[in-house]
Structures are given as C-alpha cells and as structure tokens.
Chain length 329, copies 2
C-alpha cells in the first residue's frame, strides 16, 4: 500500500477538514495514511473502521502564515517538518500539506533535495478550460525572479507532468507573453523562447486568454506573473458572480430565472472549482509533495491525496531527471 | 470648439464603425472632428447635417499589424502619422486611433514628445469593478521591461488621471505584486515599493483580485504583466460565458431560466464591456492620445472621443509635469 504523510494541522481551519478529506479518500481507495500532528487531537476524528489505515507522527507545532519560510528549518517539531522528514527518509512516498506553502517548499527543497540538474523546483497548478479539461500553469508562486534557464526547466517539468499524470501523449507547451509573435516578450522570456525552441512540444508564445481556451496543455511563466494571473482569474470569476447576484436580487423574474438555471451554475462551479484539483504539485523535488490551499475543505484534501497517489505511483521524477540529463550533455 | 483628430481608417474593420462612432459622438456633443484618411472614402459616410463639424486630413496609407512600430516613422502618409502631426503642430487638441497601438505610441512619443521629466509614456486602461466603478490599470502594454523609477512615474501619472478625469479626490494606488506584504514582489517591484512610499496615495502592494474588488483606484504594473492580466481577465470572462451557454443549451429548463435572466446578463455585459470605456489614454505624452482597440465598434469610438474631450479639457498633463518636478527637485 502506498504510504502518504498528510500535514493534519497546517490548514487554516485546523485538523477537521483535513481528517475528513483523508477519511473520504480512504472510503474510495486504500492507502496508508500517516498523519502529522497531535495524535490525541487527531485520533478521535478518525472513524474506528479506518484506524487500521492510519498511523501518527507526533508534531506539536504548526508554521503560521506570519512565520517566514526560512524559520521553517528551525521549527523541527512542526507538522510540515516532520512530514518532510518522513519523505526524506523514504518512510512515505508523498506528502500533502495545506500549511504554509513557502515553508513546505523550502523544507522539501532543502531536506529532500532537488532532482539532479533541477535549478529550482516550481509549483504547478491546474486551471479549468472551456474544453472541460485542465491547463497546467507553472510556476505559480515559488520563484519570483526567474532566469530563462529556469523557465526552460519548468517547461520540461510541466511536459513530464501532463504526459505522466494527465496522460496527454503529445502535449502543447506555450510560453506566457504579451503577444503571440516571437518578437514579443520581456528580456527573460525572449531568451527563454529560444531555449524552449529545442523542445518538440513547444508551440511558442501564448497570451493570457489561452490559459482558458484549451489551445495549449501547459503555460510557462515565472512565479510573480503566475501568482498575479491566478489571483486575477479568481478576481474576475468572483466579480462576475457578485455582479450577477446583485442584479438578480433586484428582480423577482430574474430570481425565478436563476432558480431554473441553478443546475447550470452548479456545473459551472464544479468545472472551475479549486476543490476538484485539490492541490498543486511541487515539481523538481526528489519526491512527491502536493501543496494545498490553506482554506482547503475535505473535498480538496481528498483530491490532493488522489493526486499524490497518482504522482507517487508514476515515473515522473525519473522522466524529469532523464530529460534534463539529455539537455545537460 | 475642441478639435480632435480621429484616425478614420486604422481600425480592423475599416472606416465604417469609426465614422459611425464620430457621428454618434457628434449627436451628443459638438466638437470639431478632423478625419485622417481618404476624403473620397470618408465623406459619403458622414450625414450632410454633420458635415460642418468635419474636416479631412488626407492620408492614403494605414499601418498594418504586420508593420513594426519602428516602420511607423517612415510611413509619413499614414493616417496615424498625419493625425500625430496635427497634434504636434497644435492644430488639434487630441488624437483618437484604433490603429496599430505600438505605432501610435512610438509616433506620439517621438513626434509630440514627452512631458518634461517623463521617462516613458504608458498606456492606462479602465477595468470594471464590483462597486460598479472603474479601476485604472497601467501600464498595459507599452513598456515591457520596466525599472522601478518607471513604475513610480506610472503611479504619479495614474494618480493625476483619476484625480483630473475621474474626479476621485483621494485615490488609492496599489502596486501589483504576488502578495500584499511589503516583503512580496520581484526585484523591480520591491524597489518600486520603496519609491512609491513617498506618495501619499500609495497603499502598498495589491494582488490580482484587487483590480476587481474596488479596494484601490489605480493598480500599477509593467506592460508585460499588464498585457497578461488584461488577456487573462478576458479569457476568464469568455470561458465563463461559454461554459454557461454550453450547459444552458442542454436543458429546456435552463433555457427558460436564461431568458428570465436576460436583463441581468445584459447589465453584466454593459458593466464589463470594453465599449463603455472605448479607449486607453496614453499618459506621459505632451498632448492627448487615446488608443482604441483595433476591433472597436461605433460605441467604443464614441466613448473614446468623449474620453479625449474630457482629457483635452483637463489640466492633467500640467498636473503630471508639476508633480514630477516636485520629485525631481
């Protein structure tokens, strides 16, 4: 049975939604769950028929949002630290954490280490597109100032992910820019463009809207732009919802209409819902780490665990290593 | 009467929507419209009762999207070149163009010149927010690689615009970053943060979603990020519309619902519609230049003209000049 360590106390809402997510995952597929946290708090939350799949790794601290990522190395009794140590010692095959993402990244990079030749691990996230599929966007927060070489490596890691995990045979990879033409871009992306041209799956520059139109499978950007585009997307979707709700409220006819459209809105919500993906893989680390949103609910944690299981059972890290080696020669 | 030159042939759809926009504007407010283009083509499109407000400046060429912005200086018989020359010679107070935006920017900067101390002119655009108001975002395309000093100047120009044109007395200005904390940002934005701290109206870093929640009046970023966030926003709105339409089609109940909600969707469309703003002011040039989308319809051109009239009758360029001088001392 694949063994996964779950940071059971790192999320914004404490252990409850995390344990619920673990339970929901265990109801679907059997795996060995190691919960990092206080056993006395966690154990009562697990139904007795599932206890046999669960073990505990005692960790009394959590890393809060006000902690710097660099403090993470010092807090050796934190849930994230303990979880990452298990991964480092190969006692588990994957870690899922909804805790401090910067700390998780630092610890994973420093304690577990990078895949050979990887300059910088990066966070990849899946965004919904109009085809009802997903577009992988990376980096979305880990690396704020990137060099062209970093973006090139992100492309290799993104390609491996969509091939190995999403089973897309011939993925299309685009470089996010301010226009499709080769001449477009800033200094770094122009240099990255020429590096990426070595990759068969590289289709050139893409614009922001192409994240959602299904024209490419992977979109590459630095973590600064990645974070901004994630937040911008959330902002637009949120604004549209609020404007619709505000105007519906003003008219009984529109209220009736919105009731008849309830199913459509529900489908839309499902299609764009973060909870459906549950977590963002940290790529480039020599192990499997899934970073979930601090506000994850049970469903998000369940899906993050499914992601971790897929990742842990795949060859993705070997593929990344081999691919980078082939370019290092 | 304020005199405005309109590039009558630069848009993607030829002169028809442009002239319709001019006509619609003239039906609302009287101004002197100088149309740059071929008089023999344009004149028949103008109703006879409005001819007295119209004059023509003969220009036989247009700059196409495949032309580089640098070619613009050579094409001296282009509509944009002729329009900008009129502005340079103070024969008109403003230029509106839906043509090649890079060419318009280059020509305006090189021929009309920059306001004293302005390092780089920038394109500002208005984005709708949930309060039913607008957030000014700049730069959105003119300057791909920016230094901190450029972003600082964009903040000064953006402040002047919302104060003078949108009549917001105490605007809030945010610096777009990958987190609200002062510690967040890339190398350039961190340096810009400290420069902007000199400005009373600077509220610190803002995230992508804050463009739409009404928490600030102006959002500052470089043109690379600005272009990506514009396209990303369009992409999200477009994807949501497409997903809703697709699912509505599948169910007669939902179709009925969408009919009852028709007015709400129309209001939403109006609220987020580009045509409502019509154009993006080019700030920092010693004159008034409004850049419209190549795909502008008549309504967008009409609103761009209204923007140009407001701008031309304001003190904004003097305010920018004085403010920059106060920091140059």
């Amino acid at each position: 049975m694949t063994s996964i360590c779950i940071d059971a106390m790192g999320g914004d809402f404490g252990p409850k939604p995390i344990i619920e997510g673990v339970v929901e995952a265990l109801e679907t597929v059997k795996f060995s769950a190691v919960l990092a946290g206080k056993e006395e708090v966690l154990k009562p939350l697990v139904p007795s028929h599932l206890q046999k799949y669960i073990s505990y790794i005692e960790a009394t601290e959590t890393i809060s949002m006000s902690d710097g990522a660099t403090n993470a190395l010092k807090k050796k009794d934190s849930t994230i630290y303990k979880a990452i140590e298990l991964l480092k010692n190969k006692e588990v095959k994957a870690v899922v954490s909804a805790g401090h993402s910067g700390a998780t990244m630092s610890l994973a990079t420093l304690r577990v280490g990078r895949i050979q030749n990887v300059l910088r691990p990066a966070i990849a996230t899946l965004m919904p597109n109009v085809l009802g599929k997903k577009t992988l966007v990376m980096d979305v927060g880990a690396n704020v100032d990137c060099k062209a070489e970093h973006l090139f490596q992100f492309a290799i890691m993104g390609e491996a992910y969509v091939k190995e995990i999403l089973k897309i045979k011939n993925p299309k990879i685009g470089l996010l820019s301010n226009g499709e033409e080769e001449s477009k871009g800033n200094e770094v992306t122009k240099e990255a463009f020429s590096l990426m041209s070595k990759l068969d799956c590289f289709v050139g520059n893409v614009e922001g809207n192409q994240i959602f139109d299904g024209s490419v499978d992977v979109v590459i950007c630095d973590g600064f732009v990645g974070n901004i585009l994630l937040k911008t997307s959330e902002g637009v979707a949120d604004a549209i919802t609020k404007i619709i709700k505000k105007h519906v409220k003003k008219s009984p006819i529109a209220i009736a209409g919105s009731l008849l459209m309830k199913k459509v809105f529900k489908t839309l919500k499902q299609q764009v819902d973060y909870d459906e993906y549950g977590g963002a893989p940290l790529l480039g680390v020599d192990g499997c780490v899934i970073i979930s949103h601090g506000k994850s609910n049970a469903k998000a944690i369940k899906n993050a665990i499914f992601q971790a299981l897929n990742f842990a059972d795949s060859d993705i890290n070997k593929v990344i290593k081999d691919e980078l080696l082939s370019f290092a020669r």
